[in-house]
Symmetry: C2
DNA sequence: GAAAATAATGAAATCCATTTCACTATTTAA
DNA sequence: TTAAATAGTGAAATGGATTTCATTATTTTC
């Protein structure tokens, strides 16, 4: 029913082998013969049967992507970057959502293995050591694109979560904030959230601010969780002057809550986020955040994976993409606030 | 190197055929034999070679998804729904982004055909008639999940863009707005944007408001385009009392611009969006919009595709998912505004 | 208990491309 | 001109499953 190489061979008056050679690497075929074959291919609109090819060659030009929470803007852009670079390099993508569940991850891993994927990108927040050992067992090239994995065998591409979180907290501290609350990610998130936590602690220590675990409210990276975390923060710590949400969506949720309570941002409370998604520019006040490019992360991940697949030398299997502090309207210096109050006090006095 | 059925057969002491039967449909196999085979499968951790299976059976349990602009929250959720339902039904997903380019769509269509996908979901804004005829030629089950396609042969699942746009414009009109501006989608978008446009026109006609094409500024569904569209609107039509952006992101961008200009929302200008993405609840003012569920749309699309693949009867190959007007803070009745003004006038008088 | 029917299994063909090996045609070297 | 080397091509083996057809065991029927 479908056109096969045999049909092409017959029409071109050559053998199967020759057709195959023309379609892959015509170096061994006379130009004239190649032309005949090409003509037949076009005339019949021949399309290769990929399964047959994969069966024989054991390479699929397929890359598996297993992610979770990919509807988040940052990760949606990551996927976009992955897709663009994969396409560029001749790979197609098999995409599966694990919902952050180990079982589903395993499941997809199996399915993808059965499809003989050439490599796999994992975007998984709560990796378990089990997953790591399974992945290693599979002998399939893997890149983690969600956080730093210390295991030296594992390649990963990620923003430097520790440094980035450090930078933004340091920024708050240098602005004079001492009473800071945090909306962290799920405790199960062993990658991004835990790393950012480490960066926070580091910055606090260097600024000689006591680390108080109570000031870390757990969220799940959604608007909603940011909103309700802010509520808890305001109740428990009415004196905070700054909130650092571990991603922009939670920051936006928090801002919404604060505004509902008629708390002025940044005059009374500064709010900062993480990721630097487009949205941050358009909310009111525009969000101060530390920006990383999901798209870039996607490109780099495929780049590294491609190198592993092709057994190219890799200088370093831990790659960090750049991050940048973006100061907008949701923060100010605590001094400024003080100044204003002083002015008011002066007026009164 | 990999474990094959042959290995399983040998270990279990049966023939290849028997192993295959056990793994597919053991109805013809003695229970005892089946157990032996199962045990061998487990012992060897046998994984089927999918390419071999597909080659033989010509069915892949693969569904292709070709989309564009999938980083938009609504579409990201659509993809999530597609993935969830596809997984549920035993399909894996091959995912490609077309960037809205015909050539890339064609390309992916070819690649996917070569991989013997069982069906395909198209989320493409500017479909060309070319694409339609190609798709028809391919004889592969297809579902459009992005808008209404009139061609009776083509199945589609979509919100009723005409009705939804009608509803929200009617809502504005009934609130007393006569001077409305619109931020539409790209003119190339023959689906969502053009349909919404039709809904708008219908509502305007029924409310006896003259249709003025100048009042429709073209955007591209991004925050940024909503922002600059609002700028144009305010310059050209300083008297507008309402803006309808054809999606929520553009509405958010518009709101940002209006706020920068110290224009009060909704007191001076009401703003409405389309889609009902989560974000709308958290911006200030919370966005009035017409809500559809991307996730739901995804589920329904796979459901329909699955039916086509299995040659089940389909009552109607045009399916609409529900939409709902969600009134929040970004709109008010023009009367209320008038009342306030009257009060002010009275105060003055 | 023999014949007929059914259940359970295996051998071999098949799906479609790639690739090795063998062979012929053409060049090059001597 | 002949021997040696190389270029170009084809036949056949191969990858790993499914499935048809044939065959052997087992039941059922009379």
């Amino acid at each position: 029913m479908d056109v096969t190489m045999k049909d092409v061979a017959k029409l071109a008056g050559v053998s199967l082998s020759t057709v195959s050679r023309v379609l892959n690497d015509s170096s061994l075929v006379r130009e004239e013969t190649a032309r005949k074959v090409q003509k037949a291919v076009e005339k019949l609109d021949y399309q290769i049967n990929d399964s047959a090819r994969i069966l024989r060659t054991n390479t699929s030009n397929l890359i598996g992507v297993i992610g979770a929470g990919m509807e988040r803007p940052f990760l949606a852009n990551l996927l976009k970057g992955i897709e663009a670079e994969a396409r560029e390099r001749g790979y197609a993508l098999i995409y599966g959502d694990s919902d952050g569940e180990f079982e589903k991850e395993q499941n997809y891993l199996n399915i993808m293995k059965q499809k003989k994927i050439d490599g796999i990108i994992l975007i998984t927040t709560n990796y378990y050591n089990d997953l790591l050992s399974i992945v290693k067992n599979y002998q399939i090239p893997v890149v983690f694109a969600s956080g730093y994995i210390s295991d030296p065998e594992i390649s990963c591409v990620t923003v430097d979560n520790v440094a980035a979180a450090y930078d933004i907290v340091e920024f708050l501290c240098q602005a004079g904030h001492k009473d800071i609350a945090f909306i962290k990610g799920p405790d199960l998130d062993l990658l991004a959230s835990q790393e950012r936590l480490r960066g926070v602690k580091l910055a606090l220590r260097l600024s000689e601010i006591k680390y108080d675990p109570n000031r870390f409210i757990e969220g799940d990276f959604t608007f909603e969780s940011g909103y309700s975390a802010a509520k808890k923060i305001i109740r428990k710590f009415p004196d905070v002057t700054a909130i650092f949400a571990f991603n922009d969506e939670m920051a936006v949720g928090a801002i919404r809550y604060l505004k509902e309570q008629n708390i002025k941002i940044p005059e009374e409370i500064s709010v900062v986020g993480f990721d630097g998604i487009e949205l941050g520019k358009y909310i009111d006040p525009a969000l101060t955040t530390v920006k990383q490019s999901g798209y870039q992360l996607g490109l780099k991940s495929i780049d590294m994976l491609n190198k592993i697949i092709n057994k190219e030398k890799i200088e370093d299997n831990k790659v960090f993409i750049p991050h940048k502090l973006v100061v907008r309207e949701s923060t100010n210096k605590l001094n400024e606030l003080t100044t204003k109050e002083e002015v008011i006090i002066n007026n009164r006095g």
